[in-house]
Symmetry: C2
Subunit: 634 residues, 2 copies
Amino acid sequence: MTTVDLSLPPALTQVSLHDAFWSPRLEANRACTLPALHDKLVEVGALDAFDLPEYAKRGITIPKNHQVTPQMWWDSDVAKWIEAASASLVTHPDAALDAQIDDAIARIAGAQQPDGYLNTYFTAIEPDKKLTNERDWHELYNAGHLIEAAVTHFQATGKTSLLDIMERYSRYLAGVYGPNPGQRPGYPGHQEIELALLRLYHATGRREHLDFARYFLDQRGQQPPYFETEALARGDNPQDFWAGTYEYMQAHQPVREQSQVVGHAVRAMYQYAAMADLAAADGDADLRAACERLWDDLTRHSLYLTGGLGPSASNEGMTRPYDLPNDTAYAETCAAVGLAFWARRMAALTGDAKYADVMERALYNNVLSGVSLSGDRFLYENPLESDGTHRRWAWHPCPCCPPNLARLLASLGEYVYAVSTQEVTVNLYAGSTLRADVGGQHLTLTQESAYPWRGDIHLSVELDAPATFTVRLRIPAWAQGATLSVNGEPQTVTPDQGYAVLTRGWRSGDRIDLTLPLLPRRTYAHPAVRQDAGLVALEYGPLVYCVEGVDQDADLHALSLARDSALSARFDPDLLGGVTVIEGEAVADAIGGYDLYTSSPPETRPAHLKAIPYAVWDNREPTPMRVWLRETAR
Amino acid sequence: MTTVDLSLPPALTQVSLHDAFWSPRLEANRACTLPALHDKLVEVGALDAFDLPEYAKRGITIPKNHQVTPQMWWDSDVAKWIEAASASLVTHPDAALDAQIDDAIARIAGAQQPDGYLNTYFTAIEPDKKLTNERDWHELYNAGHLIEAAVTHFQATGKTSLLDIMERYSRYLAGVYGPNPGQRPGYPGHQEIELALLRLYHATGRREHLDFARYFLDQRGQQPPYFETEALARGDNPQDFWAGTYEYMQAHQPVREQSQVVGHAVRAMYQYAAMADLAAADGDADLRAACERLWDDLTRHSLYLTGGLGPSASNEGMTRPYDLPNDTAYAETCAAVGLAFWARRMAALTGDAKYADVMERALYNNVLSGVSLSGDRFLYENPLESDGTHRRWAWHPCPCCPPNLARLLASLGEYVYAVSTQEVTVNLYAGSTLRADVGGQHLTLTQESAYPWRGDIHLSVELDAPATFTVRLRIPAWAQGATLSVNGEPQTVTPDQGYAVLTRGWRSGDRIDLTLPLLPRRTYAHPAVRQDAGLVALEYGPLVYCVEGVDQDADLHALSLARDSALSARFDPDLLGGVTVIEGEAVADAIGGYDLYTSSPPETRPAHLKAIPYAVWDNREPTPMRVWLRETAR
């Protein structure tokens, strides 16, 4: 059933970015976020924690005065840092960083037990509880992140030091979990290892990893629930599950039968990403259909305009269709990162640009809002309205988001292009160079643009020899009236699944010019979304806009925009590192009088409205923010 | 400093109600709520708990198989039931109920310790912790409610059985708390005993109770904080206070210096009620000024339109000025009950109708919404918007609200009138008969009306002999164009502090006719209230209206009302026990299409809007509800 010519992301080494919009963010990620994360991992003891199992291995009790109390999720935080740092080495060779990574890997090697098991917490602190509670504890999740780190480290550096460790651990786990006598029919409480094993399969070509990922996905949601079996084995009452429902971790029904996005948002995204990847690798139509149903449910009912998801803090996840509160939106950064993972795989699986449209929406909005322009302040939750008290922080007791962001940004090239033997797909518009073998020749494709501020995009082709292949250029759904030319010759833009498709003989010096009309535009939510009723949002290209109090002369809730008022876009090089602002004339409720309630509607006055990209909110002093604005229909 | 002619509520025995609006609610209270509460108190063991101290007194360990585990606040729940049941006996003599009350009082007597101390929990369960944590535990609060019960029981039945017990306990407490050597400079964590002691003073004339109330009020907020002293005495770190701030219980500064309503809403209301009562009894101008400042702060910045207060669940209380979220409004029933307590005392203290206006607003809206029409289902929180999942319950682990409501409704006569030697003040319009000595004669004043559905109010005077005195009739602030006549002769309505004042010689057969124009009216919140921006509320007389989903042909958030559209009022005898509905033409966003976000504003269609009084929401099937409606400016 295997598809012959899978469309896959390029290797990290195949893409370099030189983009006015992204490069400063990637540079902040490299120069500020990565060292800041390493400092924090040292400071809290997450790196030192890998030395603890060494004591255990030697039968030494951990000294009482030892500073380190490992948290169950620390291994994953170190792993994500290794992944981000390794990816960064591709574009910025850095011997000191390379040495830091090698040091971390050496510690990880030291922590691996003779049987292959590898987890700091359950080796050092509660060895008797090892692999006894996959429902709540994070052993397989940690393993997954370490596997991803190993794959990226291998791809970035060619070193197999971490890859060997993790293949060994993976084989240990494949001995524990499986259908055979003496094995357990289990799967993780927090999905992650499934997509990691699929990456391990793509990197090594070894089908054992693919099969193990498939086993975990197929076991999920089977009866009787494994988490019940496991709870009974611990002597616990399965009814005492704190989350109350296996929907929390999408284990309420077999994954192929799932059609509603439920529960914890990050777990859902990681699961669906793995499902999409497996569907492509196996050519599995049922699994693909499940992915498409789930995608449809998410994007029709539960996705914030910013590409965020999971409105509720209580389950870090989903609630009901059309429930999209703005001020209390949880919309965890990791969930949007996970959506980008899933969307990229759906785009590759289906060849449909609607997935890349959402990927772009998540990346340019809810993902990017997760880190400050400076690279050292983070948002865990990404609400669409704030009274000015929701601020970025430097660290978090559960610091999953910053290194997740860091690894995504360091690997951004994988999102710009997708490559198969006969096709190059351009999913994002960003100044970059792709080197890939396509149509039997070595292609260097150079993209130049000032996107998302300007809509003219230029691609130039270099080839060792002329070759025939397809270039697919995504025409975003919002881009009405896009124009396209090859070597100055206009092409008809009739998108196929959202892509302009150029199949032809190419030769060095060929030039593609694409223009996406960029204008401020108004966006409305479905009338079933009660929180957005009567409100309008502003967008510009892939960017969702917001108003911040500091830019207005009225309270944000007092502002309203006439439906037909003019909006203008202006690039301000001095604002927030250089952004295009949207401006327009609005009206504001006048300052009220003495009484809390009156029989007179508020007087209004003219007001000037100035909106900035949501991606860069909360980068100045504390100030209220809103995405959805009151609209006067007139 | 004592004021000579205090305006006080009439005794319960002086007023009887026979009102189309209130009588069915009072009857449900008597015939359904009271027995339901008694059943629950028996079922959970709160009444049996009074037998536990008897074991302790005899040195008997509570049997292990004993069903009762007292809660710290149970004594107060029993007390509130006794208070409500006693008040009910005045209008409905009921030998069985009288016997139930006597039985409860006999148990309470049995629980009183030889030294006068009286608390089930700290006698039976944790005797070593008696009076060691007034900050968090509820001993003085429970004492206060038992004192209030004793006063009402005495006033309703003439019996002193509970009064004697509580005067004895009060004297025990006055020995513990005070300025003398060996006494503690303390005060309650949850205010209540202060207003109870003032009622005890009014009922008995004994100044010791007034002085004890004044001591508690004066100690509050003094330095060093008593709760710190007390915590240190327990061996606790005062910094470990779970609420984080003494603002939580209004103990952050001396009460005379307070000017902002902060913290737990019920505690605040009970404190302010006691302050107003003490200010009147003492003629204390400073205390009165503090009450007026606090009133001003509450009504200008933090009062819901429904007379509810305390937007936040986390502290069951206040947040910031103009922060009035509708869907997450805590607005505890008990807080509105407490506001009615305070408002009645402020009206008596100042003679200003603005206080009775707010008292009426609380009673007709947030108080009454707390109990179902059937009398056996309750709301603890009274939000101004619900998605249909916020429902009434039959009982609550902390069942403070139902008996609080029950005692208020059973004592409603105290809110209708206020009486001094030369004046009768009519604060509420409700069919009722007042018997009082005024102007040296025995007056029977009979009020007839169909208020709040109709605005014509008729009062007739019966006197043993002609007499000169003043009748003050509240002209609600919303009643523009009220007309008044005496014996058919028109009177000029020029309100003095909000009251039409009729001072004259009165004789039997005199008749007063007052007409308050009743029309549906639109109300707007101050532009600083972000949650109500662009929204309008509907009112009719004292009633705030809401829309329920079941009455509309569109989603509530999809409806909007044009600013100048006609509204009509119509009495529907078959709806919710007979209510006036407000109807009008609105527009509704049409049902949306497939996409969650679009570039087209929603189409609209005509819709019919039908609003019901907020007081009777959630008396049908589960359905969404909103008070504040979207408004189209033109």
